[in-house]
Amino acid sequence: MPGYHRAELTAELRVVATGRAGEPSEEQVEAARRVAGGTGLAREAGPETILLAGDRREVLEAAMEIVEAALDAGAHTVEVRVETEGEADRFGP
Amino acid sequence: MRLNLTVNGEQRETDGVWEGESLLYVLRERLGLPGSKNACEQGECGSCSVYLDGILVCSCLVLAGQAEGSEVVTVEAVSGDSGLHPVQEAFVEAGAVQCGFCTPGFVVATHDLLRRNPEPSEAEVREALAGNLCRCTGYEKILDAVRRAAARGEDAPR
């Protein structure tokens, strides 16, 4: 049931346009999505928004990888929003 | 359109009825009688059972306009001033009520059955109530309730 396996942490990542660069390029978004897909934790959470859900450590590590991939592809800005999930602190070890 | 009908002994009038509305919708949303339930809206579950001119019907299958000038009796009128009708009493006592969404329909259908056949056999009860679906009870307690109500030998109030 819900909560049996509720994700501990979520991170939303979005490659955003900056004043200088205009729209984020397809390649930047794709690079982020490709790496995200490989983490095994990724879903979509809105247009161009990646959502990672899982244990604390794996989510944080995956977020770092994705940010790097986007930057490597030339992105100027990546928004990252990390949240603990309600009730998640009640998980056992 | 305007609709005039007698509901539970009271003359009622309601305006602005869309022609496509069912009697069930009018009872629930316009006349403040939500006791009849909207579980399937296609005559399969019996939750909306009412009397229309003394006949048991699914009010979801009656176009509101068809009830113009008719007499409608809903679950709200099954109990009288003196409290619960024996059918209702029996449903509560027997544990025939769980989520209760099917209950108003069962109460009206049982009321109709016992009015026509005060001492039904089990097979007759089952056939008469086959158009009322219940998802919670597995029907055992409902059968028990009908037996109790029948044993009381009380006839319908109207």
């Binding site: 979520t10 897909g37 | 989520c99 597995g138």
Partner: protein, 802 residues
């Protein structure tokens, strides 16, 4: 769009329910019984407020498509329409989900199942709202759907989610695994399939959202878990949970189907946008698209045993179709894996459980939760094995029955009580119904009933047995707690206990149970149960058969706290010695003598305690699928007697006999209701209930073609109830809701096999299978009225203007 002065009417919430309940162990008249028989009980779909608008949902007609464009302008211009919202209007997180937030509140680039919400509207009449939906123009680029879980894992399958189509994989390795195969004298193999069952609760999803005028919103909703709804709604509205207050409104059944959100976020969005109360009420057809279903599964099994009938090993591969979104699939996958071998002592096992994303309807919680699918397969295997060994199927089960102290394949020690052998022996000795002459019997006692298909011709009787088990409460490390606030006060000179929890009464009788506990623990006649809402801490979900245990324990704990404070007061004020005090009939008592009436002792004060009950810690599985995963186990055995018209494949179930261990009977009548009702749902899965899906589209979203048992289908139930106390649980009780649903299905199918000699590897068993008539051509997707699916209703593009 229409403009009116915004109003924020306030709603008077449901009041407390006060009555004088029975004590623990007694049948009580349920307090909501009277309003339910008179029609006065207010279900979520009955609520209304002045100035209220009606919400409606536009759903995707396609199981898999790109959304190229959404044009709402024409809909917005329609008189009587107050709001038309899309994903762009979701203020907070655009996805939600209980375990993993992967499901769009409103779809943006893609739709992944037929019926996925794309836009919502609020209007002054349901018909206006429906017309507005027709005027929302969505341009779709239709994609090929993935409709087969086995194909979803293939390399070339398109990825439905960023990380692919595998939602979860679990592997359990126990003992030597299949390495033990050499020790087996006999091996039986089988492949089984379970169709998609629906909860089919009678009260369709509905709710009323009321803006508070200060930016927040109150939501009156029928749900199973208020707090997890609150979390998800607040997250998607971008608000603090405090600004989103939920109150439980009358619930017309649940069975797992109300654990996920349906219109909760939508109604709140529309209410906040229009600054008016907004009611959303699904009709039956929409309800089929508005909640998750029981997972369809394919299960491949291999059982090895010694010649004398001792199980040597089990190998199982379970594949579940999770549909488009995660829901509670992770937990279902775990449950199925851990119950894959049945309640038997299996020294070696290798189990794989796979949960996959497809473009089929999302699946999640339903009564039995993963144990149902596994039980159908392992019980079929046990019968097959008995046949192979020439043993009585019941004796084979008894021989291999689990007992306390054994190890489950996932390593946990079987906790007491685990009376598997006892319940099997009970059903074994229960007298069989007398065989009655079939020829010339009343039609209503024959397969087909008054449809007059047989007067006894072709009718054969069969008897079958099955046993199943399931965990009670949430597992694998989740701190599955409940909160209760109990207040002792004096009203009209009489002591009154008020109990406040957020636990959802969905029909099962939790109101009674809470009151019975309060009355038992505090010795007070009058108890009042306050409406469940988010003003008190979480009670967890009304699911996993857990509320009697967990919320029961929380109420008991809080009552004990209040009682302690009463005794303290008695000691302080009356100088009573600390030991030997009790409460009875409204008095503090010692040795049967009244020390002081509660009313006098309280002297106008109130005593209040809020307690959280946390059960024993559980643990996740390790990489070999080992761990102390579950809290409590409940077992039930069933015997089915059927009569089959073997020529036509029609069935009458004659009787179900069952034995179940419940730990302690809290309320006999409510317990019987759970057992009988659970069996009815098991019967439905065995014989008739299946959501038929073709190419991702639902073919029978109506009560005309999704058939649930009627009163003419459900037989008499004989039951024996064992009360073997669980030392860890309050009063020793066990959860009772789910076990009746688990083994009743395989027992019926076993009886059908007995009557027909057919193998019957798929449920629901259709008349075609029983009559031995091979399948014809594949199903056409010709929709029937009220049974088509949203291709027609959501878009209304199949409308005929006549």
């Amino acid at each position: 769009m229409s403009q009116t002065t915004p109003t924020t009417p306030t709603r008077v919430g449901p009041g407390p329910t006060t009555w004088t309940p029975g004590k623990v162990g007694e049948s009580d008249r349920r307090p909501d019984g009277v309003p339910k028989v008179t029609g006065e009980f207010e279900y979520s779909s009955d609520m209304r407020l002045d100035g209220m608008l009606w919400g409606a949902t536009l759903r995707s007609p396609h199981p898999h498509a790109e959304i190229r464009q959404i044009d709402t302008s024409e809909a917005e211009d329609l008189p009587g329409v107050y709001a038309v919202l899309t994903h762009e209007d979701v203020p907070g997180r655009k996805v939600y989900g209980m375990e993993i937030p992967d499901q769009p509140v409103l779809a943006w680039e893609k739709v992944r199942y037929q019926g996925e919400p794309v836009a919502i509207v609020a209007a002054d009449h349901p018909e206006t709202a429906r017309r507005a939906l027709e005027k929302v123009h969505v341009e779709y680029g239709v994609l090929d759907p993935i409709t087969d879980a086995e194909k979803a894992v293939q390399e070339d399958a398109p990825k439905l989610h960023l990380s692919g189509n595998v939602l979860r994989r679990i592997r359990i390795l126990h003992g030597e695994g299949v390495g033990a195969a050499a020790k087996a004298d006999v091996v039986v193999r089988g492949e089984y399939e379970v169709g998609m069952q629906d909860q089919a609760f009678l009260g369709p999803e509905s709710g009323l959202a009321v803006p508070d005028g200060l930016g927040g919103v109150d939501l009156y909703i029928s749900t199973q878990w208020l707090h997890i709804d609150q979390d998800q709604v607040a997250e998607s509205l971008g608000m603090d949970p405090d600004q989103v207050r939920l109150t439980l409104s009358g619930v017309g059944g649940a069975f797992g189907g109300r654990e996920d959100l349906s219109m909760q976020i939508h109604a709140c969005m529309l209410a906040l946008e229009t600054e008016r109360p907004v009611k959303m009420a699904y009709n039956r057809e929409e309800s089929f698209f508005g909640h998750v279903h029981r997972h369809p599964a394919k299960l491949r099994y291999e059982h090895g045993a010694t010649r004398d009938g001792n199980l040597v090993y089990v190998k199982a591969r379970l594949v579940f179709d999770g549909g488009a979104y995660a829901s509670s699939s992770n937990a279902v996958c775990l449950n199925a894996a851990t119950f894959a071998c049945g309640p038997y002592e299996v020294p070696n096992a290798e189990i794989e459980s796979h949960m996959l994303y497809t473009n089929n309807p999302p699946c999640g919680a339903m009564r039995g939760f993963g144990a149902v699918q596994a039980c159908f397969a392992h019980e079929a295997q046990m019968d097959k094995l008995a046949d192979e060994l020439g043993l009585d199927p019941l004796d084979l089960r008894i021989k291999n029955a689990l007992k306390p102290g054994d190890r489950f394949p996932f390593g946990q020690e079987v906790p007491p009580p685990a009376p598997v052998r006892e319940i099997l022996e009970r059903v074994k000795v229960m007298p069989l119904p007398e065989e009655q002459e079939v020829m010339g019997r009343d039609l209503r006692g024959l397969p087909g009933g008054v449809s007059n298909v047989t007067h006894g011709e072709g009718v054969k009787r069969g008897v079958g047995y099955a046993v199943g088990f399931k965990n009670i409460g949430f597992s694998a490390g989740f701190d599955d707690y409940s909160t209760a606030r109990v207040r002792l006060t004096v009203e009209d000179g009489e002591p009154l206990v008020e109990v406040h929890t957020a636990a959802a009464e969905v029909g099962q009788g939790l109101l009674m149970l809470q009151a019975q506990i309060a009355r038992t623990e505090l010795g007070v006649e009058k108890v009042s149960i306050l409406p469940a809402d988010t003003r008190v801490g979480s009670a967890g979900s009304t699911s996993a058969s857990r509320q009697s245990y967990v919320t029961g324990a929380a109420v008991k704990l809080a009552c004990e706290g209040v009682r302690e404070r009463l005794f303290e007061r008695a000691r302080e004020e009356l100088g009573e010695p600390p030991d030997g005090l009790s409460v009875e009939a409204g008095n503090v008592v010692r040795d049967g003598r009244t020390v002081v009436p509660l009313a006098e002792l309280l002297d106008g004060d109130e005593l209040e305690e809020t307690c959280e009950y946390h059960h024993r810690e559980t643990h996740p599985l390790d990489e070999n699928g080992q761990g102390d995963v579950h809290l409590q186990y409940a077992f039930a055995a069933h015997r089915a007697v059927v009569e089959v018209d073997v020529e036509l494949g029609l069935v009458r179930v004659v009787e179900i006999a069952t034995a179940q261990d419940v730990g302690k009977i809290i309320n006999p009548q409510a317990l019987e209701g759970q057992i009988e009702g659970g069996i009815a749902q098991g019967l439905g899965l065995a014989l008739m209930e299946e959501i038929q899906v073709k190419e991702g589209k639902v073919l029978n979203a109506s009560f005309t073609d999704y058939l649930i048992p009627t009163i003419l289908d459900m037989p008499t139930v004989k039951m024996e109830v064992l009360e073997l106390a669980d030392p860890e649980a309050p009063y020793g009780l066990k959860g009772v809701g789910e076990p009746p649903t688990i083994a009743s299905t395989p027992a019926i199918v076993a009886a059908l096999r007995d009557a027909t000699g057919l193998e019957l590897t798929r449920i629901p068993v259709r008349p075609e299978q029983l009559a031995g008539v091979s399948d014809g051509p594949p199903l056409p997707d010709e929709p029937t009225p009220g049974g088509a699916g949203y291709a027609e209703v959501g878009r209304l593009d199949g409308r005929r203007e006549t």
